[in-house]
């Protein structure tokens, strides 16, 4: 199987879908001549030309809304945000227009559009440039939220997103574009709402996604294995729709759950998962559900404060030991 980076996987997905469907186009800041701020659209301008690979001015509300209008009348835009932080300038467009259009128009107009770009913290970018916004967008009916954690999923899920007839919030990780992995040969897609068991285990279930899954949870699971603790690690891959059955079945087996996410604790995705598990697996739980999140503060610049705020391996190990009643 070919080994590619997440950057290349996303590029392949857009390339293939644009070749497949004339209605698909890409617009955003620096996507064309500059080849993408993170080089995700590298080479696409040369291949598809300026009609379909479109540099925009810095006007997120304007070009997001243009994408929504174009989608309403039959095109299938991919709108790239240089980072998801800047989507907040287009919040009205995504929330009031893209998410609600189908319902509000009584089924007259659907909005097949993909909003994509990197999310989450990088290094020392401080409060406005380090946000994990998946819980925010998952809150709104009408949106789907996708967060791939590896090249195979990035390609397969982005192709599905482009073919979806709804607005899709597709959040990549700024820190993972260069990370490599195997992808299947040839054409494939990955359906939404189907999570994956990354590693089977028997003692505790951990649910995590995107960068925190790969950089924190996977490593914590390795350390815990050295202590003789067997963790079942689940990547839901899409936040909305969520693969509830996969999580419930795992919790029914392990009887313990820790959710590890980059976002803030209040109204976070983990809060929703915890609620659903409490409702559906109450009799199976041997301990209250634990969460590892970012601290409830705007992310500071200074390196020591930044790492103190974000989830880390030690925090995950502590949470797992807590649900196993291993610490007094």
């Amino acid at each position: 199987m070919p080994v590619v980076s997440i950057r290349e996987a996303l590029n392949q997905a857009m390339d293939e879908e644009m070749a497949r469907d004339e209605r698909v186009f890409l617009m955003g800041e620096e996507v064309a001549q500059y080849n993408g701020a993170y080089k995700v659209s590298q080479g696409l301008l040369t291949k598809f030309g300026p009609k379909r690979i479109i540099d925009t001015p810095i006007a997120e509300a304007g070009f997001s809304g243009i994408g929504i209008g174009a989608a309403m009348v039959g095109l299938r835009p991919i709108v790239e945000f240089m980072t998801w932080n800047f989507s907040l300038v287009a919040f009205d467009q995504i929330v009031n227009n893209a998410a609600k259009m189908l319902s509000m128009s009584g089924g007259n107009f659907n909005v097949p559009i993909v909003f994509r770009g990197p999310g989450g913290a990088a290094h020392s970018l401080a409060a406005t440039h380090s946000q994990a916004l998946e819980s925010l967008y998952a809150h709104f009916p009408g949106l789907k939220v996708v967060m791939p954690s590896n090249p195979r999923d990035a390609k397969g899920l982005l192709k599905t997103a482009i073919r979806d007839n709804n607005p899709v919030v597709f959040i990549e990780s700024e820190m993972m574009y260069g990370e490599k992995g195997e992808i299947p040969e040839g054409e494939y897609t990955i359906p939404f709402g189907v999570g994956e068991v990354i590693k089977e285990g028997t003692d505790v279930t951990i649910v995590s996604w995107s960068r925190i899954l790969q950089h924190i949870a996977v490593k914590a699971v390795g350390r815990l294995a050295e202590e003789g603790i067997s963790v079942e690690l689940i990547d839901p891959r899409t936040i909305k729709p969520m693969d509830w059955e996969l999580i419930f079945n795992s919790v029914k087996k392990t009887n313990r759950l820790v959710i590890v996410e980059e976002g803030w604790p209040f109204s976070g995705v983990g809060a929703q998962i915890s609620h659903e598990v409490n409702n559906h697996c109450f009799d199976y739980l041997d301990a209250p559900v634990e969460r590892v999140t970012q601290e409830d503060v705007p992310l500071p610049y200074a390196h020591n404060l930044e790492i103190a705020s974000l989830p880390n391996i030690q925090k995950v190990i502590r949470a797992v030991r807590k649900v196993m009643y291993l610490d007094s």
């Binding site: 509300a61 209008g69 009205d92 128009s105 009584g106 659907n110 007839n165």
Partner: protein, 338 residues
């Protein structure tokens, strides 16, 4: 401003080459909008229409003249004062009224209400309730037209208040930069709710905002004159069809009612005299004069038009009252497309 402005000779004699039956259609359409809105006011007062309800009384010439300058393939999008434009774009008025009363037979099956009328078949893109939020969408419809190599244009209507928000400026910049066939039409009724234009905008002549984007613009001072509206919009539409270039048009107009049905007709922000003076420039009266002076219609015509339109509005009410409420299962429909 106290008298009806004399019509220019050229307008009354050649009528811009518009067929008499079209002029009569516009008159009927404006009369339908007026009587429809009056019925809405009555039903709102009776508590049958809920929420916010923004009436179009006084602005009818803009809907008839503008939509009269495009074809059924072209797109129309507007803000929340949308009943009149929907009627002009051919949306079934029975379904509009049914929507206002939250019925299953409404334009959006009771999901949208007064501020969110939509009709895909008629290329009516809404009905939008966040000021300025729809302007990028209208720009996007024009983008799609050019992308596909079509000749369709989009008429993107907005109130004067929308010209101060960011989405207006981002849209104008992008439409001018990319040459998109969209005609932005400001319905300047002089007040954004209770705030007059001069208290909200650093530029009183709103069409001049186009200059910042190197965009063509024009002002229609006689927004009560359906012919003048048509003439200017048609020129902008023709230009957009041949060059893909956008325009910004400002139509000076006046709403007779309050901002919405929740507001008084004049309130503290405008005087009774101002409203009464403006009513002398009534779109229906002006159109009737044009028709009479051109010998296209006499008093009998206007009497029969009243009777015909009265019947249409009664049919709207009957249709609505006999329509069912939405099924409760509909609560979960149309949230996601298949």
């Amino acid at each position: 401003m106290n008298n009806i402005l004399p019509l220019t000779k050229s307008v009354t004699t050649n009528l811009l080459g518009i067929a008499p039956k079209i002029l009569l259609k516009w008159y009927d359409e404006m009369l339908l909008i007026r009587r429809f809105e009056e019925k809405c006011a009555q039903l709102y007062g009776m508590g049958k229409i809920g929420g916010f309800c923004h009436l179009y009384n006084g602005q009818e010439a803009i809907a008839a003249g503008s939509v009269g300058a495009i074809t059924s393939d072209d797109y129309v999008i507007t803000a929340y004062r949308d009943h009149g434009l929907a009627i002009s774009k051919g949306v079934d008025p029975r379904r509009i009224l049914a929507e206002l009363l939250g019925k299953h037979t409404g334009t959006t099956k009771g999901k949208g209400g007064s501020m969110h009328l939509f009709d895909r078949e008629k290329n009516f893109l809404g009905g939008h309730a966040i000021v300025g939020g729809h302007i990028p969408i209208g720009t996007g419809a024009a983008f799609a037209s050019k992308y596909r190599g079509e000749k369709r244009v989009c008429l993107c209507f907005m109130g004067d208040g929308a010209t101060n928000i960011g989405e207006f400026h981002e849209s104008l910049n992008l439409a001018a930069l990319w040459k998109l066939p969209v005609i932005y039409i400001i319905e300047n009724n002089k007040y954004g709710m209770g705030t007059s234009v001069d208290r909200a905008s650093a530029v009183d002549d709103l069409h001049k905002k186009a200059a910042a984007y190197n965009m063509r613009s024009a002002v229609i001072e006689d927004g009560h004159d359906v012919l003048k509206v048509y003439q200017t919009v048609k020129a902008a539409v023709d230009h957009a069809r041949t060059t893909y270039e956008p325009s910004l048009l400002e139509v000076q107009t006046f709403r007779y009612r309050g901002h919405s049905m929740s507001d008084p007709i004049h309130g503290h922000y405008r005087t009774k005299e101002e409203v009464e003076n403006q009513r002398k420039l009534d779109p229906l009266t002006v159109c009737a004069r044009i028709l009479k002076e051109a010998h296209l219609a006499a008093d009998e015509y206007f009497e029969s038009a009243e009777a015909r339109i009265k019947t249409v509005v009664e049919e709207c009410v009957q249709f609505t009252e006999s329509s069912p409420e939405p099924l409760l299962e509909e609560l979960y429909s149309d949230v996601y497309a298949d």
